[in-house]
C-alpha cells in the first residue's frame, strides 16, 4: 500500500515539472481527439441503426438499375405478397424560366408498404400523414424544390409534355434513408403519370419494396443472389446500409488524420521521455541503494507512468464529452434527429488502443531503465545508444494506428513515405553538417567552431532534436499547404476547367439537339466522350462484396454502375502508368485499362478478370494496362477504358459526357433545352462552384479543427524540445561561464546551436513537404504540385526565426541562475 501511495505521490510530483506537464498535455490532446471521434462515430452509427428500423419503408428493398423483366418480376411477386415498385430518375424540372435538377421518384399504388408519407400545403405548413403517394397527374415537390422553382400547390408543371398538378409539398418519405447522404432536390409522381416514351437515364434505379415473413425474405434473397447478381439488397435487420458505410469512410479519413497527429504526439513524448528516463534512472538507482530490487523500481516507474495516463484519460473524457455534445449538435443538420449517446465499450477500446500504442513508445525507455545502476551514482557509466530502437518504436505504433484506421492505403503509404524521406534527409544532414563543421572548426578559434564541437559531442541527442522539430515542421507545413491549395483549387476551378457548362450525361438522342442548340445560341461544344454504364459484379469469379470487404471511396463508387469508355489510343490527357495498352484496331476486345488509384485501393493485378453487367449481359475483361490522368488535353477522364472494337459486341445505349462554353446570353435559353430534354444532365459551373462552396464550408470546418489540433501538438513539440534539452544547456552554460565567458557569449553560442538545428529541421521539413506534395497532390487530388519558391523561402525563414527565438528566450531565462546552480543542472 505504501509503495502504491509513493508511486502516486511520485506521479503528482512529476507533474510539477515542465516535462511532466507537456507529456500529460500531449497524451490528453491525443485522447481527446480519438475519444471524441469514437463517441461521435458511435452516436451516428446508433442513429443510423435506429433510423433503418423506422425509415426503410419495408422489410427489405431490392434495388436494380434497370427494371426487372416481366418474368423476373413475376418470380419476385410469386415469392412474397407485399411488393411495391418505385423508380428514381435524374431529370430537370422547369417552372417558367426557373429550372432545377431533381431526383424524381415514381411510385405505384401500394407505396409505401410500411410507415407513412408526410405532406403539407406549403413548405412551412404543419405535416400530416398520407398512406399513399400522389395520384396520376399529380406531382409532389419537396420543400426546397418548391422554393427553388417558386411553385405552389395548385400550379401546373410540364414534364415531357405532360402537365402535372402540384398537389402537395413532400415533407417525409419512409424510405428516405435509401438515398444516403444525398442532398438532391426531390419530387414524387405516380408511375402512370410518366410517359412511356420518356428515355431512361443510365443512373436510374428501380426499387422493389418488399414485406413478408422471415422465411419468405430468406427465399427471396437466395433467389435474387442467383437470378439478379447486379441487384443490391438492403434488409431492415442485419444489412449494411449506405449511410453507415459513408460515415465509416469519413471516420476512417479522420483516423488517418489521427495517424499524423499521433506522430506529432510521439515526437513530443519522445522528447520529454529523455528527461523522464534520466529522472527514473536516478530514482531507481537511489531506490537500489536503499535495498529495493530493480524490478520493483521499474514496476513503480511504470505504475507512475500509468497513473499519469489515467489522469490524462480523466481530463480527456471530460473535454471529449463536451466536444462530443457540441459536434452532435452541429451534425444534426446533416443527420436530423441524431442524439448524443455514450458508447462506453467503444470508448474503452479506443483508450485501450492508445494505451498499447503509448506503451510501445515507452518500450525503449523501459529497456534502458532495466540498465539503471547504483554504480552510476558512484561513478559515471556510459548510456547505451537507443536511437534506432526509439525510431523503430515510434514507427511501429504509427503503422499499427494506420492499419487500424486507414481507409486509403495509397494515401497512408505516401504520407509515411514522405515522412521517411524527410527523416533520412535530416539524419544525413545533421550528421554531415555537424561532422563537417567540427572538422572545419578544429583549427579555428571562435564560438561557431566551438558550437560545432559541442554539437559533435552530443550528436545523438542533437539528431533526435532535429528530427523531432523537422517532423513537426513537415506535418504542420503539409497540412497548412494542402488546406491552402485545396481552397485555391476549388476557388479557381472555374478558371482552369474546360468550358463553363459540364455535360454530365447526354443520351444519343440528345447529341444532335445539343449541337443544334449550341449553334443557335452561339455556344461551343468543346468535348463529348462516349461511354456506357457498366456495373462491376465480380473479380476473378468472386462477387465484388466477397472480393473486397474493406470500405473505401473506390469500393463505394464501384457498388454503383460506372462509366466505361472505349478508345483505340491512349487519350491525350492520360499517360501509361503500367502494363501494355492495346494496339489500335485490335480484335481482342476483352481488354481493359484501369486507373492506378483504383488498382491499388481494390488490390487489382494485371491479368485479373473483371466481370461487368452491361444491360442484360455480362462481359469479362482482362486487366492489361493502367492509365493515369495528366494535365493538358481536357479534364474528362475515365476510371475504366476498353478497346474501340469492344463497343460493337456490347448491347447498351451509348451516353456522352463533355463540356461546353456558353456565352452569357445563352444561359437564359437553357430552360428551353431542358423542357424538351428533361433527362439531359447539364451542370453549369456556377452551380458546380456553389456545390463546391457548400462542400468547402464543411471541409474548412473539419480542417480548421484539425489544423488547430496540429498547431497545439506542434506547440507541445517545441516546448518539449526546449524543456527536454534545457538541463544539458544549463550545464553547458554553467561550465562556460565558470571559464570566464560572459552571458552574451553563452547566448551567442546557443544561438549558433539553435540556428544549425532549426536550419536542418526546416530543410528537412521542406524536403518532406515537397516529397509529399509530389506524391500526394497528383495521385490523390488530381492537382499539379507547383511549390511557390518565395513561400518556401519565407517558411524556412519563419521556422528558423521561431525556433531560434524560443531557444534564445529559454537560454536567457536559464542564464539568470548563478554559475553554481547552472553547473548543478
Amino acid at each position: 500500500m505504501s509503495k502504491l501511495r509513493l508511486t502516486l505521490e511520485n506521479s503528482l510530483n512529476d507533474l510539477k515539472d515542465g516535462d511532466g506537464r507537456i507529456s500529460l498535455a500531449t497524451q490528453a490532446a491525443l485522447l481527446v481527439f480519438l475519444i471524441t471521434l469514437t463517441l461521435t462515430s458511435a452516436s451516428i452509427q446508433k442513429f443510423l441503426a435506429t433510423n433503418l428500423d423506422q425509415m426503410l419503408g419495408a422489410d427489405m428493398v431490392l434495388e436494380t438499375h434497370a427494371p426487372l423483366t416481366i418474368a423476373e418480376e413475376g418470380s419476385l411477386r410469386s415469392l412474397v405478397d407485399g411488393v411495391s415498385r418505385t423508380r428514381l430518375s435524374g431529370i430537370t424540372l422547369t417552372h417558367g424560366d426557373v429550372w432545377a435538377r431533381v431526383q424524381l421518384k415514381s411510385v405505384d399504388d401500394r407505396y409505401p408498404l410500411e410507415g407513412t408519407l408526410g405532406i403539407g400545403e406549403n413548405p412551412a405548413a404543419p405535416e400530416h400523414a398520407a398512406s399513399r403517394g400522389p395520384a396520376a397527374g399529380e406531382i409532389w415537390l419537396d420543400a426546397r424544390l418548391a422554393t427553388k422553382l417558386q411553385a405552389r400547390v395548385g400550379e401546373t408543371l410540364t414534364l415531357h409534355e405532360a402537365p402535372l398538378v402540384v398537389s402537395a409539398i413532400l415533407l417525409h418519405e419512409p424510405d428516405r434513408l435509401m438515398e444516403g447522404h444525398s442532398v438532391a432536390l426531390r419530387a414524387m409522381v405516380h408511375e402512370d403519370s410518366l410517359s412511356h416514351t420518356m428515355p431512361v437515364g443510365g443512373k436510374d434505379r428501380t426499387r422493389y419494396l418488399v414485406s413478408g415473413t422471415p422465411e419468405e425474405l430468406a427465399e427471396l434473397e437466395a433467389w435474387a443472389g442467383e437470378a439478379l447478381p447486379a441487384a443490391r439488397i438492403i434488409k431492415k435487420y442485419g444489412g449494411r446500409h449506405p449511410l453507415a458505410t459513408f460515415w465509416q469512410r469519413t471516420e476512417n479519413f479522420l483516423g488517418l488524420a489521427s495517424v499524423i497527429l499521433f506522430f506529432l504526439g510521439a515526437v513530443a513524448l519522445d522528447m520529454t521521455n529523455r528527461r523522464w528516463l534520466a529522472k527514473m534512472r536516478y530514482r531507481l538507482a537511489i531506490y537500489s541503494s536503499l535495498g529495493t530490487p530493480l524490478c520493483t523500481g521499474i514496476a513503480m516507474a511504470l505504475g507512475g507512468w500509468f497513473m499519469m495516463f489515467v489522469i490524462a484519460v480523466l481530463v480527456a473524457i471530460i473535454a471529449a464529452a463536451i466536444a462530443h455534445v457540441a459536434i452532435i449538435a452541429e451534425l444534426q443538420t446533416v443527420f436530423p434527429g441524431a442524439q448524443v449517446s455514450w458508447d462506453m465499450a467503444a470508448m474503452l477500446k479506443t483508450v485501450g488502443l492508445l494505451l498499447v500504442l503509448l506503451l510501445a513508445l515507452q518500450l525503449p525507455s523501459i529497456l534502458q531503465l532495466s540498465r539503471a545502476s547504483l554504480l552510476a551514482l558512484i561513478r559515471h557509466v556510459g548510456e547505451g545508444r537507443y536511437v534506432w530502437l526509439r525510431l523503430l518504436c515510434g514507427l511501429l505504433p504509427v503503422s499499427i494506428l494506420a492499419a487500424v484506421y486507414s481507409d486509403n492505403w495509397l494515401l497512408t503509404g505516401m504520407t509515411l513515405a514522405a515522412i521517411g524521406v524527410a527523416l533520412i534527409l535530416m539524419m544525413v544532414l545533421t550528421w554531415g553538417a555537424v561532422r563537417l563543421g567540427d572538422v572545419w572548426g578544429r583549427r579555428r578559434a571562435g564560438l561557431l567552431p566551438f558550437a560545432f564541437f559541442m554539437m559533435r559531442q552530443r550528436l545523438f541527442t542533437k539528431s533526435a532534436q532535429v528530427m523531432g522539430l523537422g517532423l513537426c515542421g513537415l506535418l504542420l507545413l503539409f497540412t497548412l499547404m494542402l488546406m491552402r491549395d485545396l481552397g485555391t483549387m476549388m476557388e479557381g476551378y472555374a478558371r482552369t476547367h474546360d468550358g463553363n457548362l459540364i455535360v454530365s450525361e447526354a443520351q444519343e438522342s440528345h447529341v444532335e439537339a445539343l449541337h443544334v442548340w449550341a449553334r443557335e445560341n452561339g455556344a461551343k461544344v468543346l468535348a463529348l466522350r462516349p461511354f456506357i454504364y457498366a456495373k462491376l459484379i465480380s473479380v476473378n469469379g468472386k462477387r465484388l462484396n466477397d472480393y473486397m470487404q474493406k470500405p473505401s471511396d473506390t469500393l463505394a463508387t464501384l457498388q454503383e454502375p460506372i462509366r466505361l469508355t472505349w478508345t483505340d489510343r491512349l487519350p491525350a490527357n492520360n499517360r501509361l502508368a503500367g502494363g501494355t495498352f492495346w494496339q489500335p484496331g485490335t480484335d481482342d476486345w476483352h481488354q481493359i485499362s484501369v486507373e492506378p488509384e483504383v488498382m491499388t485501393d481494390m488490390g487489382f493485378s494485371y491479368s485479373d478478370t473483371l466481370t461487368y453487367q452491361i444491360g442484360e449481359q455480362r462481359h469479362d475483361f482482362t486487366l492489361v494496362a493502367s492509365h493515369a490522368f495528366q494535365a493538358g488535353g481536357g479534364s474528362i477522364t475515365f476510371w475504366f477504358q476498353m478497346p474501340m472494337s469492344a463497343r460493337a459486341h456490347i448491347e447498351a445505349p451509348s451516353r456522352f459526357m463533355g463540356s461546353m462554353e456558353l456565352p452569357e446570353a445563352a444561359w437564359d435559353k437553357l430552360a428551353l433545352l431542358w423542357q424538351q430534354h428533361p433527362t439531359l444532365e447539364l451542370a453549369p459551373l456556377r452551380e458546380l462552384t456553389e456545390r463546391f462552396d457548400e462542400t468547402l464550408a464543411i471541409v474548412t470546418k473539419v480542417t480548421s479543427g484539425y489544423a488547430g489540433m496540429i498547431l497545439l501538438l506542434a506547440l507541445f513539440v517545441l516546448a518539449a524540445s526546449v524543456s527536454g534539452f534545457r538541463a544539458d544547456d544549463r550545464q553547458k552554460n554553467g561550465l562556460l561561464m565558470s571559464m570566464g565567458l560572459k552571458d552574451g557569449d553563452c547566448l551567442w553560442l546557443n544561438f549558433h546551436d539553435w540556428v544549425v538545428t532549426a536550419l536542418i529541421s526546416a530543410v528537412g521539413a521542406i524536403a518532406g513537404t515537397w516529397a509529399a506534395g509530389l506524391m500526394i497532390y497528383e495521385g490523390q487530388f488530381g492537382m499539379t504540385y507547383r511549390p511557390d519558391l518565395l513561400w518556401v523561402a519565407g517558411t524556412i525563414v519563419l521556422m528558423v526565426a521561431i525556433v531560434c527565438l524560443v531557444g534564445y528566450l529559454a537560454c536567457r531565462q536559464s542564464l539568470k541562475a548563478s554559475v553554481r546552480d547552472l553547473l548543478g543542472g
Binding site: 505504501s2 509503495k3 501511495r5 509513493l6 511520485n10 510530483n13 537511489i286 541503494s289 536503499l290 530490487p293
Partner: protein, 219 residues
C-alpha cells in the same frame, strides 16, 4: 551465525581506448558486521571499484566474492536488499522534502510507520525544524546528515560509504563522521568507507591502504 562479505584473491581491470588497465590483483578481504573498515589511497587506485565489488554492484574480473547473511550464503541481489549507501554527492531525491527522503527506505519496504520513525530520526539529528525543507534549501552538511540517517533508518547489515565527507568542510565533516560511526555502533552493522581523509579513516576499527594494486594495513 556469520554475516560477512568474503573477497578471495580478487583482481580487477577495465578497458579504455583499447588498452587494459589493471587496478589490483590477488586481493583478499573479509568484511563483518559490527566492525568498521576504512579504505584509503590515492585517486585512481581503485578504491571505488573495490567498494562496488564488495557491495555486489559489479563482479571482479578474477577471484571470487561470497556473501553470507546469518550463516546462509546469498547472492549479490539479496545482499543489496540488506545494505545501505552513503554518497559523496548526497543524492537526496530533489522532489521529496527532508522527512520524505528519510522515510523513503521504510516506505519502500512497506512500513506504515515510516513517517513517525523518520520524525524520530530527524529529532535525534537536531533537524526537526527542517522536516519540510527541500534538499536545495538545506546546507551540504544537513543534506549529508539526512543521507546518513536515510542509509541507517532501515537497519541494514552493511553500509557502504563513498567519500562521504568529500563535499564538506572540516567542521561539518566531523559532525557527519561522528553521526555515521555512532549509528554504525548503535545498529551493529558493518561499515565500509572509501576516503582520502586520514581524519575520517582514523575513526574506523580497521584501515587499509590501496595503492599500485596492493592492499596493506594502514597505520
Amino acid at each position: 551465525m556469520k554475516t560477512a562479505i568474503e573477497l578471495e584473491s580478487i583482481s580487477h581491470e577495465f578497458a579504455a581506448h583499447g588498452e587494459s588497465i589493471r587496478l589490483f590483483d590477488n586481493l583478499s578481504l573479509t568484511i563483518r558486521t559490527g566492525h568498521s573498515l576504512a579504505i584509503v589511497g590515492p585517486s585512481g587506485a581503485g578504491k571505488s571499484s573495490l567498494l562496488s565489488i564488495a557491495a555486489g554492484l559489479e563482479a571482479p574480473t578474477g577471484g571470487s566474492v561470497r556473501f553470507f547473511l546469518k550463516g546462509t550464503a546469498v547472492d549479490a541481489r539479496t545482499l543489496r536488499a540488506h545494505s545501505g549507501f552513503i554518497f559523496q554527492h548526497f543524492h537526496l531525491m530533489p522532489e521529496l522534502d527532508a522527512i520524505g527522503n528519510l522515510a523513503l527506505p521504510l516506505r519502500l519496504k512497506g512500513d506504515r510507520r515510516a513517517f513517525d520513525v523518520a520524525a524520530d530520526w530527524l529529532e535525534k539529528m537536531g533537524l526537526k525544524d527542517r522536516a519540510r525543507h527541500w534538499p536545495h534549501q538545506l546546507s551540504g552538511g544537513e543534506q549529508q546528515r539526512i543521507a546518513v540517517a536515510r542509509a541507517f533508518i532501515s537497519s541494514p547489515d552493511f553500509i557502504f560509504a563513498d567519500e562521504p565527507t568529500g563535499n564538506l568542510d572540516a567542521r561539518t565533516s566531523e559532525g557527519v563522521t561522528s553521526l555515521m560511526f555512532d549509528c554504525a555502533k548503535e545498529t551493529g552493522c558493518g561499515l565500509v568507507i572509501v576516503t582520502h581523509s586520514r581524519r575520517l579513516a582514523a575513526f574506523a576499527d580497521n584501515r587499509l591502504h590501496l595503492e599500485a594494486g596492493r592492499l596493506e594495513v594502514a597505520a
